[in-house]
């Protein structure tokens, strides 16, 4: 991977799992080693609870949505371009795959149209 601007190139970008499914956004980043001068990205944080780190409106939105927080270790990131590609499936990573919404839609005739 070439040089990446964390703020512009990763934060708020689309997460895509190993099956090519959209599975949320990079809602926040977990950094480590900031104090000892060798900062690195430890993990990607995704899910509504991760918005808490995104300012006043983020805290407000997180409180309203009351969603989960999923931590994806940096080792599970395969590639970063416009989207952030992951090495595993959303299911394996514990990221929501819209299953509840899918079950609802599938009850209606013609859901596969």
């Amino acid at each position: 991977m070439s040089e990446i601007d964390l703020g512009l190139g990763i934060l708020d970008h689309q997460l895509v799992d190993s099956d090519g499914h959209h599975c949320g956004k990079v809602d926040d980043l977990e950094l480590e080693g900031v104090r000892d001068g060798t900062p690195r990205v430890a993990a990607i944080l995704t899910g509504a609870s991760a918005w808490r780190g995104r300012g006043l409106l983020g805290r407000l939105a997180a409180a309203v949505a009351r969603g989960r927080l999923v931590r994806i270790a940096w080792e599970d990131v395969k590639d970063v371009h416009a989207e952030v590609e992951l090495r595993r499936t959303a299911e394996e990573l514990g990221v929501a795959r819209e299953d509840r919404a899918r079950r609802l839609v599938e009850r209606i005739p013609g859901a596969s149209l």
């Binding site: 512009l8 190139g9 934060l11 708020d12 970008h13 689309q14 997460l15 499914h21 959209h22 599975c23 949320g24 956004k25 809602d27 995704t46 918005w51 995104r54 300012g55 006043l56 409106l57 983020g58 939105a61 416009a82 819209e98 919404a101 899918r102 609802l104 839609v105 599938e106 209606i108 013609g110 859901a111 596969s112 149209l113």
Partner: protein, 408 residues
């Protein structure tokens, strides 16, 4: 040859898909009030939609990013959320206005009660959204909307004073009532640049899997399609100016818009006008419902797109259904759809700068666009339009109040 054919079809769909309830209302009202004097404002609006639709289509073809991907990536969570809330509020008003407009046209065609036709319109639109593949939706409604060209025939047959028409392309503001004049300027620019069009256009480019090889189609659709679509707006304003202004008729309902085609072209003109309006407004209702779902799905990173089928992007599917339902409920309260239309257009002007700034930034970003970044000419247009939109956005609501919604 196949390519030329595809380009021609795309252009036709863009022409038929350009006009919606906002364009119909503001162009006829402006013509009935100021004659041809405000034609220049349509030119500004059409130039704006061409500039930003081309940019959105190019960003989508090169980077596969749609508008609200770019909004979130460039404005961040907080400002992006503000942009999202504003966009969804305006989308909801637009959906309500279009659903109401469909029912009004159905009423002119059938004479049945308005509320029953609202229910019919809602059910029919939901069915189309659920069943039809994306490319069909775009084509069917775009082509049938071409019946609106009857207004161009009508405008010519009304023998307007063409020298006066030509003068309308130069801004003069020779009026005692600057507030009403200004209100119509805002409305005409807002109606031409109504935000759902770029949300839908950019996401549609991803739906149709445009790649850099499709940039020619993108340019043709945006530049030729929307310019020719603008002719429909001119035709509505010129016809209203030639017919309604001398009679002192203000077009408070869509019946007087249809009249504008019936007087010069006859019975067939009336039917073509109504059929054209029915499909153009229905298409806009569908596009704006999809636009709402695209925005939400892109901001939160869900699966989206009609090409994934209803169950393959379930939250997206539920979102468009809910947006359509909410829009339907707004007009079911009995609020006048023409009033909702005017409010939706004025508020969309307020939301536009937050949509267009991130697009301009991304279209200039080497990381996204590589060699397909904006050239200097597009940037000049893009920057000038951002300034124009900021001015119009600041002026919009004061003008709405000062002009008493164009009533003076």
């Amino acid at each position: 040859m196949k390519n030329v054919f595809a380009i021609a079809l795309g252009i036709l769909a863009a022409i038929g898909g350009f006009v919606d309830i906002g364009d119909i209302v503001f162009n006829t009202a402006a013509g009935a009030t100021f004659g041809y004097e405000l034609l220049w404002a349509v030119v500004i609006g059409v130039g704006g939609i061409i500039t930003y639709a081309e940019m959105c289509g190019r960003v989508a073809a090169v980077s596969e990013r749609a508008v609200f991907d770019a909004v979130r990536e460039r404005l961040g969570f907080q400002v992006g959320l503000v942009a999202l809330v504003a966009a969804q509020f305006v989308n909801l008003l637009t959906i309500a206005a279009e659903v109401g407009g469909v029912a009004l046209v159905l009423q002119l065609l059938s004479g049945l009660p308005y509320r029953a036709l609202l229910v019919l319109a809602f059910v029919a639109l939901a069915l189309v959204l659920w069943v039809m593949p994306f490319s069909w939706i775009e084509r069917v409604f775009g082509y049938a909307g071409l019946a609106l060209l009857v207004f161009a025939v009508g405008a010519i047959k009304l023998h307007p004073d063409w020298a006066q028409v030509a003068r309308g392309f130069v801004p003069r503001a020779e009026t005692d009532n600057l507030a009403v004049y200004g209100y119509y300027v805002v409305g005409l620019i807002g109606a031409a640049m109504i935000p759902y069009e770029v949300y839908f256009y950019s996401s549609g480019a991803v739906e149709e899997r445009w790649r850099p090889k499709d940039l020619g189609v993108n340019r043709a659709n945006a530049i030729v399609g929307y310019s020719l679509g603008g002719i429909l707006s001119f035709a509505l304003m010129i016809s209203a100016g030639a017919l309604l202004l001398p009679q002192g008729i203000s077009p408070e309902h869509l019946g007087s818009v249809a009249l504008v085609a019936e007087v010069p072209v006859g019975q067939i003109g009336l039917i073509l006008a109504l059929v054209g309006m029915l499909f153009a407004i229905s298409g806009a209702a569908i596009d704006s419902a999809f636009a709402g779902a695209y925005n939400l799905a892109q901001f939160f990173g869900w699966e989206w797109g009609k090409y994934r089928h209803n169950h393959g992007a379930p939250r997206f599917t539920i979102t468009w259904a809910v947006m359509l339902l909410l829009g339907f409920l707004v007009v079911m309260t009995g609020v006048d759809p023409i009033l909702v239309t005017e409010i939706s257009v004025v508020f969309s002007v307020v939301a536009l700068p937050l949509t267009y700034l991130p697009i301009l930034l991304v279209a200039n970003d080497r990381a996204y666009m590589g060699g397909y970044r904006n050239g200097w000419l597009v940037n000049v247009f893009g920057a000038v339009y951002l300034v124009v939109l900021l001015v119009v956005a600041v002026a919009a609501i004061p003008l709405l109040v000062a002009s008493n919604m164009g009533q003076g």
